[in-house]
């Protein structure tokens, strides 16, 4: 990533001047072109690493070891007995240009069916026998719903808490909020998740109080209504947010403190601007830069889901999909997920740079 920062000597002001479109467009195109070899290298490395993640045919998820006859037959049928570079080639460009030996007589007789990633075919899952794109697509909305809501709660919460702490620095509530957010930060997610489940679901029900559901996305007796899904999201969103509040709110707090001591804020105050305008328009916008960096880096990983939280609350998201398929050595699905995240990282980094330029007019991409 090559970002050229051109810092102007003029003092920061409150008016926003958009960067001229051509350099920005050129920058985006250049970044996208750079991403192609990068993604290729990533795919090769990941494919090689996946070969060491266990044999998908060892037990096939069962209680017993697969018979050696079945293992050999399946390896042949699924092309897992081919050299690694051939397997990668089939994954990348497909195998419909060649023939496969399915019956083990040494004569390739059946035409291949795979089109390869370059033609949009990510393959068939070794576990569920479904196209990888379908497998991922089933889970992505659930993950986006959970992680998007969580991110929103975290950002809003962090802004509220961070700003409050900055504006009321060293007040009792500032100390209290800091202490609580650091307790959350120090707790492992599984602990806070299970603790909240036992308090708000199991014990609240036992004590005759209104209680929250333990697991899943809805109550089967009621059905998958928006209300049910929202209700089932309360505990996972709470658990995830609780541990991330600290880091985010500290970023906002320190950035706000720094900005509030700047000359232009004093000038704005001296001009007699209303306090909300100073805080929300002039201070917050400039204080948001560190938060944008963190959020920009975090966003692509929202697609990956939250492995522990999804597991504990039985939320059918990408995190569980990933871990389930890694444990079964399901290369097509794991590669599909990882490549999707790799693409998302590239795209979100470009978007972050664009937002940077919008927030801080001093930044130019030449």
């Amino acid at each position: 990533m090559t970002v050229t920062l051109k810092v102007t000597v003029t003092s920061p002001n409150v008016t926003v001047t958009s960067p001229t479109p051509p350099p920005m467009l050129r920058y985006i195109i250049r970044r996208l072109l750079q991403a192609i070899p990068l993604l290729f290298i990533i795919s090769v490395i990941l494919f090689l690493l996946m070969q060491n993640m266990g044999d998908p045919l060892a037990t096939l998820g069962g209680r017993q070891v697969t018979r050696s006859e079945d293992r050999q037959r399946l390896a042949r049928q699924l092309g897992l007995d081919k050299p690694i570079y051939i397997q990668y080639l089939y994954w990348l460009i497909g195998n419909d240009w060649t023939k496969m030996d399915l019956d083990g007589d040494g004569i390739p007789e059946t035409p291949g069916r795979r089109k390869g990633v370059l033609r949009g075919d990510f393959g068939i899952s070794l576990v569920s026998k479904r196209p990888v794109v379908e497998v991922i697509w089933d889970r992505l909305p659930n993950t986006l719903l959970l992680m998007g809501t969580t991110e929103l709660v975290i950002i809003i919460g962090a802004l509220v808490i961070g700003m409050y702490s900055a504006l009321r620095q060293y007040s009792v509530l500032d100390h209290l909020i800091t202490a609580i957010s650091f307790i959350g930060y120090s707790m492992p997610i599984f602990f806070i998740a299970l603790l909240s489940m036992y308090i708000f679901s199991v014990n609240f029900k036992r004590w005759g109080l209104p209680y929250l559901p333990t697991v899943g996305m809805f109550d089967p007796q009621v059905g998958k209504t928006p209300g049910q899904v929202a209700l089932h999201m309360v505990l996972p969103v709470f658990s995830l947010s609780f541990i991330y509040f600290a880091a985010y709110s500290r970023y906002v707090r320190s950035a706000m403190l720094e900005v509030l001591s700047q000359d232009y804020i004093r000038t704005a105050r001296a001009k007699g601007l209303p306090r909300p305008t100073i805080i929300f328009i002039h201070a917050l916008k400039n204080a948001s830069l560190p938060l944008v960096t963190v959020v920009g880096l975090d966003l692509p990983f929202l697609l990956a889901g939250a492995i522990v939280t999804e597991r504990i609350f039985a939320w059918p998201g990408m995190g569980r999909l990933f871990i389930d398929h890694v444990s079964r050595g399901d290369t097509p699905v794991v590669m599909g997920i990882l490549m999707m995240i790799a693409v998302a990282v590239v795209v979100f980094q470009i978007l972050t740079d664009i937002v940077y330029a919008w927030l801080d007019p001093r930044i130019r991409y030449d």
Binding site: K129, M197, P213, D324
Partner: protein, 565 residues
């Protein structure tokens, strides 16, 4: 001040919203979707009856439902819900005809005199859930699909033991085996494919690998019919109105996927699940306190010690039967069951405990450390150098004990080390992750390559069938036979002869006699030492009624299950 008030109001608002969204702390009876949000204590008489929805918790999600394409236990146990076996097994492990009129036997002509031909007579009233009759063609089709090289089925066993499957008429299936196959009863026809649904797919695509039916078998032959599967979340089955053994009393089975054990326990306690399994012993007391009934079901798993007896590579002490007997007497397995497993299980006498295949007169070796010391003295293993460990001809009685990293196994190792030290046997403890521990000889697996003198785990093959190749001399792994399954490298001529004999005994009664001899030899010569019986533990919620569970086909009587509201 104004700002503070704003924040306070915001916090109060959030708390109120949370409380409002919480469910009322009422009984689990919830009105159907159309009902008003506020529950009424007395429903109006015109209200339709509440659907009986039973929620099962699975800690693993089935990979596919097509029985040919999966080895997963959590997938196979659904087959009694939506698919059908030719016969399943009740809670006494007795075969129970489902698709056949009666179990084939030599007496009723179902099994030929040479044991190679088995004939099934199908019931007249069996139908798929779409009303299409189930015929012998479905059996032939299932066999053909298993054996077709174009289908990547999980295993061709036991259909590869067959020479052919024929359908002389729609109600008769004739199976001809290459040679008599004793395990037919426990292994054949676990699930059936609907030829009228899948044959067109095979003819069009050349394979059924990608058939929609594999994950969405909307046509089935069980008491319930597949309705919906949301990946990672749930699978729903609704009552099959056409089921020939009667409509189930429950309207819907909702299988919820909850991968975390602690969450499963919380969900069962909170009433968010009516049935769960794979419960840890330590969770049993609290679940019972919450009104959940715990049911132990034997499915052939018995935890035990295998002794590495390779003629060249094995420890010299273990080759002496008296030393193995001394180990059996010196290890207080009764205390292990009482203290570490909360007294909820007991030591098995042999590898085949809790099956009809174990000689019923056998009792586990008692705890008798004094007798153990005598036997070790008799065998010539004495502590000549005063280091607290017995020795003989310059060899110390130090044995390497290996097992997986499972918590309970580590605990047992520590106890065993202490107890055996009291009779002068030193155990060196080793643990390995399961994927390494269970590796074959070819993969360098520590058990298979003889890196442990004693190794501990539990396994079963084709339960309730006792057939096992783990004990045959020809299965001892070596460079020439890297996939060999006889990891303990035991080669007892008499045992080998009996194992070969039983594999050909198609008549279960004759086979049982042979197995009683086998179990006695394994017990007396301590080729395997049982630590604890390792049943599947099911948690049955207070709403579920008439539940009986079997080890081989757990939901065999699910049609009779009911749900109290």
């Amino acid at each position: 001040m104004k700002g503070r008030t704003l924040y306070a109001l915001l916090i109060i608002g959030v708390v109120l919203a949370l409380l409002a969204s919480c469910r009322p702390a009422a009984t689990p009876t919830t009105p159907p979707p159309a009902a008003p949000a506020t529950p009424t204590t007395v429903p109006p008489p015109t209200q339709p009856p509440v659907r009986k929805v039973a929620t099962f918790i699975f800690t693993q999600e089935p990979d596919v439902l097509n029985p040919l394409y999966t080895n997963m236990w959590f997938s196979s146990i659904t087959q009694q819900i939506w698919n059908c076996w030719a016969w399943d097994f009740d809670d006494q492990n007795t075969p129970r005809p489902v698709l056949v009129k009666e179990m084939p036997s030599v007496e009723n002509g179902g099994i030929s005199a040479d044991g190679r031909v088995i004939t099934l007579k199908l019931r007249d009233d069996i139908v798929w859930s779409d009303g299409t009759p189930i015929t012998s063609e479905d059996f032939v089709f299932t066999y053909e699909m298993t054996m077709s090289p174009k289908n990547t089925v999980a295993s061709t066993f036991p259909y590869d033991k067959l020479e052919k499957v024929e359908a002389p008429d729609p109600r008769t299936v004739v199976m001809t085996f290459k040679e008599p196959f004793a395990a037919w009863q426990a292994t054949l026809w676990h699930g059936l494919l609907p030829a009228h649904v899948l044959r067109p797919v095979f003819e069009k695509e050349g394979t059924i690998d990608n058939a929609e039916w594999n994950r969405a078998p909307t046509v089935g032959c069980g008491p319930f019919v597949f309705k919906e599967w949301e990946s990672g979340s749930f699978i729903r089955f609704v009552a099959n109105e056409k089921y020939w053994l009667g409509r189930p009393k429950i309207d819907e089975i909702f299988i919820r996927i909850v991968p975390d054990d602690a969450s499963q326990v919380a969900a069962l306690k909170a009433g968010d699940g009516d049935l769960g399994t794979f419960i840890a012993y330590s969770d049993i007391p609290t679940l019972e306190q919450a009104g959940v009934q715990m049911v132990k079901v034997f499915s052939g798993y018995n935890e035990g010690w295998y002794f590495y007896l390779h003629p060249e590579k094995g420890h010299p002490a273990l080759k002496d039967v008296r030393v193995r007997q001394a180990i059996a007497l010196a290890l207080d397995r009764f205390s292990i069951c009482k203290d570490l497993l909360l007294g909820l299980t007991k030591p098995p006498a042999t590898y085949w405990a809790n099956t009809p295949w174990q000689d019923p007169t056998l009792e586990p070796w008692p705890y008798d450390p004094e007798r153990a010391k005598q036997l070790l003295d008799e065998a010539g293993w004495k502590d000549t150098n005063g280091d607290g460990v017995r020795d003989k001809d310059g060899v110390e009685l130090v044995l390497v004990h290996g097992t997986t990293t499972r918590e309970i196994r580590r605990d047992v190792q520590a106890v065993a080390q202490q107890q055996l030290a009291q009779v002068g046997i030193k155990l060196e403890l080793v643990n390995a992750e399961p994927d390494i521990f269970f590796g074959s000889y070819g993969e360098g697996g520590p058990c298979a390559t003889g890196q442990y003198d004693i190794f501990q785990y539990s396994t079963t093959v084709n339960y309730p069938d006792p057939e096992t190749a783990d004990w045959l001399c020809k299965e001892i792994p070596s460079d020439e036979n890297p996939a060999g399954t006889n990891w303990q490298a035991v080669c007892d001529e008499e045992l080998d002869r009996l194992f070969k004999l039983q594999a050909t005994q198609v008549d279960p009664a004759e086979r049982q006699k042979t197995f009683h001899q086998i179990s006695r030899i394994v017990f007396e010569k301590v080729y395997w030492l049982g630590l604890w019986e390792d049943p599947d533990i099911w948690a049955v919620g207070p709403r579920l009624k008439n539940v009986r569970l079997s080890g081989a086909s757990p939901f065999f009587n699910i049609v009779e299950w009911d749900l109290s509201q």
